[in-house]
Symmetry: D2
Subunit: 332 residues, 4 copies
């Protein structure tokens, strides 16, 4: 099977210290998680310790932690910042030390519960096409609207008129910063709320280790999402997400990276949006030079002909851009 | 044939006043063009007048107007701003009046000359990963490098190691502003240097008419280009580009739009980059509401689940973003 | 008199070719001007030709060209873009050639007419604290409000409660670009709508010459203005503005510069706002190195200790920043 | 004495619960501080608890924590991020609870040690006129240069040629976020590295309380600084800074505010820079409406005529802008 094949030659498979181990399987249920987290840092107590190569089945909560129950709920009444986007973790990876990277292979994502629904809503002063707390305006806010969206097998029933494909991915995936602790709405060099639709089953994300044990956090499952997540939310749902994690010693990353069967991708998060794109493309030039034998100027000029960009988060305190190159062009 | 089929039901086919006419064919050769243009406005003399529905075969020059002949040429010696990115035109479309739109269907693009080569170069203080005239720094500029790239049938021979697909498109397509005249490096609400890889054969671009006759300008053919054109240039080449133009009366556009078989797209150009994306997505919300029967908030929230973004130009005085939605989701 | 003194040692006095000439005086009345201009470029007919060192008394119109007559007028009904911010000119300066600079000393500004009033208004989707055509949002626009403000001698009677000092300046001052023509709302490397409160009586502005004769445009008088002109408009009024112009041969400027008794200033206009500030500060480093004998790194580090920034326009298609250094620190 | 006078009618004097108390005096020496902090949050142990109205004499370290000892030191060798800009604190203010504000009156700042010197340096990829970690470029970095600058009484001896006035201020002043912990280079809604030259002796800063006890952090003394701190550093020095703190119950601030004898100021920190300015101006409009009896639209339009902007930090992960209005215009 193609998907199985490519992961056997992934960076994770080639460099992960646990790649050949028979994975132990861990269940990070809601009960085991207990309190979910709203800030990503080195100050919280671990909920789980795993060995490189292990598999973890994670019960994620939706980004509103279930507080928006019906289409009549007002987000402004039910939510209070910064207590949104709850995260599972921190999960400690044995042997992970600052300067290493961890790999997170998302193997599968399924909705939890009977008759699963996702939730999408418009929240005052939140989203791409409204004044916000940062792009501060005096305009009246947009209306608050909640949509409860059935997730039925391979489909997301947006409306009577439109059915979208179920295209799940993880919105927020992080390791801990060295000394800071960053709210779960903000993407940055540690990962965070990147909201990249590529980060679903069939993807491997590589994250920098900056605190002992890496301290992996995961959450914010989306049943589908457009580029930019413009209204501020995706089809947010409670998931059972199965990941396999591994450890790559001595691979020091400045920013997160992602691998799929067809491409490798670097991820930058910043404002203004051009800085996110600059970061991602510079990382990609450097990666091509360091690991694939390209001269840096050849890589730069060549990406000008074949680089591909994916807009992630563009509604939160920082914006996310992925820059990718097809593996076809990396062969030597 | 699929391509033929979809254009028969395109917006251009349904609303263009010349759609049913048998097209006259015009040749806009280098000789007929005479002087190429470096600024897009109402002050230049027309080179051609066509009827809606007509076909035009345009001999475009490369973005350097052929001044970079070998890999030993220094761009800083051979080029002088603002005299780059030469444009054919202005072409007058009969009957076009302010408040209308014109449609430009790109039918085919072929390299001109024997043994065709494209040119890619790094120009001092130009590109996405360097200080520039606007993102002003005191760093020494990057080196000047020129690449001459063979275009061989369906392939672009980037290097001994890498061959890219020939994926031609038009970088710069414009109608005239009402009273301004804008250099050919800058994209804006009139079109301009958008550098969108989607704008190749199989695409129809819709541009606002703001001056009598529309005053169509076209140029800047690329044999291929990555999202963002990060080093500042694509594989720039001299092309024979065949377009068919039409006129849609009373369709008043604030920004350019694009249609392909699979999707419709709105195009915004601005800085910072998030403003380009905001423009594109707002235009798409409005288009869905005006022409496809969506409530604006439903459109906004739905694009948050299925909108797709293409990064165009992100090296020039303004940046370009296209926001698209699959036609699958537009059916009523 | 102090003001008279300093101008005798200004750059204009030292380098202007007409500094020692007895100035001829020209009156550019409304009648002589005839049609005012809304775009700055090389394509309009000169209204006046002057010699370096001449004095010109200019009758400027207010930014709305008088169309907003009462506080009950709706700006959205009375104004139509791009036909706002009317400019006098172009004025040809004899002997001015590309590569030179012109100096514009604003000597005095007085309101015209009996019982003079200025006009300030809130225009839909225009201003710093609202979604705009570029920072595109879906929020409802702010209300339209018009204020008619008496200008009484040295005072501007803002309201029953607040009286502001009359602090006049010119909002828009330009030479022509080489081949582009730029609407009068936009500041850029040619000057344009900079809206810098420093550009009043007692200031000398230096502008690059890029078209034969320089083609000077002037307009947009403000009776007072805060930094940024945040609501989108100042106290806009019809003025009699007296300027003296001169020509500095061979002084090639990339961006406008300004001199007052106490400081020299460089002016950058761009988006995002940090790029405007980068441009201004880089120009100032370069100026200090070229004309005042500073090592560039010494200048850069020293401006980090004593540079001063003035925010100009931050409501229009580009934003303006002035960076200044006290003349005290320039003495050798 | 004028300075004494105005503080007696300051907001702090009128609303602070400790204003009438006889202040206890606390010495926060280097020894008492022990470990300095590089991240601002709720996770560190208090070093001192004071009552509202108390005075604290703080021994601040310079931003490099003394690691740059001579002009021959290389910053890149001596510094390691995020361990720069060390902060004293956290200082607990008795009775401070989330929803309150604290006031910090800077009474005096003096250099410490014999023969005091400040340090200014250029650090690779740090500063306004260079590519950085966020505005990522491929250009070679600027040179590393260190300047040791004598501070002599009222003067800062920049060079043989230039002497600047001693104009001390605090670069970094913070309360704790609710659950995040933010590195000391970044300004944000909690204060942080704002680098506003107005924040010196004679100023009162008001900061939001978001964690019990407020958790005040202070550091980053500058002997002088230009607007924007463009090369990335000011004249950084070790100071004895005397502050008086007070508590204002129930004054809930979204962003820091500042008061001096002549004006009140709101402070926004964000990227791009226009968002920092938008935040500051929106806060000022809201403050004028809430506490000074202005209609919001009147305040907005009036600030367009008399608002003043100060550029603070524009070299760090976020940029800072202060927006001010003269107290003259606030009287009713």
């Amino acid at each position: 099977m193609a998907k199985a094949d490519w992961t056997l030659t992934s960076i994770m498979a080639r460099r992960g210290v646990g790649a050949k181990r028979k994975p132990a399987v861990h269940d990070l249920t809601e009960a085991r998680q207990g309190k979910y987290h709203y800030t990503i840092g080195p100050y919280s107590d671990p909920v789980l310790t795993v060995a490189p190569g292990d598999r973890i089945r994670v019960e994620t909560r939706d980004a509103f932690e279930g507080a928006i129950r019906t289409e009549r709920d007002k987000p402004s009444k039910r939510l209070r910042l910064p207590f949104v986007n709850p995260q599972n973790g921190p999960i400690m990876i044995e042997g992970a030390e600052p300067g290493d990277a961890i790999a997170v292979h998302i193997e599968s994502m399924a909705p939890r519960g009977e008759n699963p629904h996702g939730t999408c809503c418009m929240i005052p002063e939140f989203g791409a096409l409204t004044g916000t707390a940062l792009t501060a305006t005096l305009n009246a806010p947009l209306p608050e609207i909640v949509r409860k969206v059935p997730i039925e097998g391979k489909s997301v029933r947006w409306s009577d008129r439109v059915t979208l494909p179920y295209a799940p991915h993880i919105g927020t995936l992080s390791t801990s910063p060295e000394i800071d602790s960053i709210n779960t709405l903000t993407p940055d060099a540690h990962g965070g709320n990147m909201d990249l639709p590529d980060m679903g089953p069939g993807s491997i994300t590589y994250l920098p280790v900056r605190a002992p044990g890496a301290r992996l956090f995961i959450g914010d499952a989306h049943a589908c999402q457009g580029d930019g997540e413009v209204c501020g939310t995706a089809v947010e749902y409670a998931s059972l997400t199965t990941i396999r994690v591994d450890l790559i010693k001595g691979w020091t990353l400045d920013w997160p990276r992602l691998e799929r069967e067809e491409f490798i991708m670097t991820i930058g998060s910043a404002r203004p949006l051009e800085d996110a794109a600059r970061i991602a493309y510079r990382e990609l030039v450097r990666w091509m030079a360091a690991d694939y034998g390209f001269d840096q100027w050849d890589a730069y000029m060549m990406l000008s002909q074949c680089g591909r960009v994916r807009l992630g988060n563009f509604v939160d305190p920082k914006y996310t851009v992925g820059a990718a190159i097809s593996k076809n062009y990396l062969q030597s």
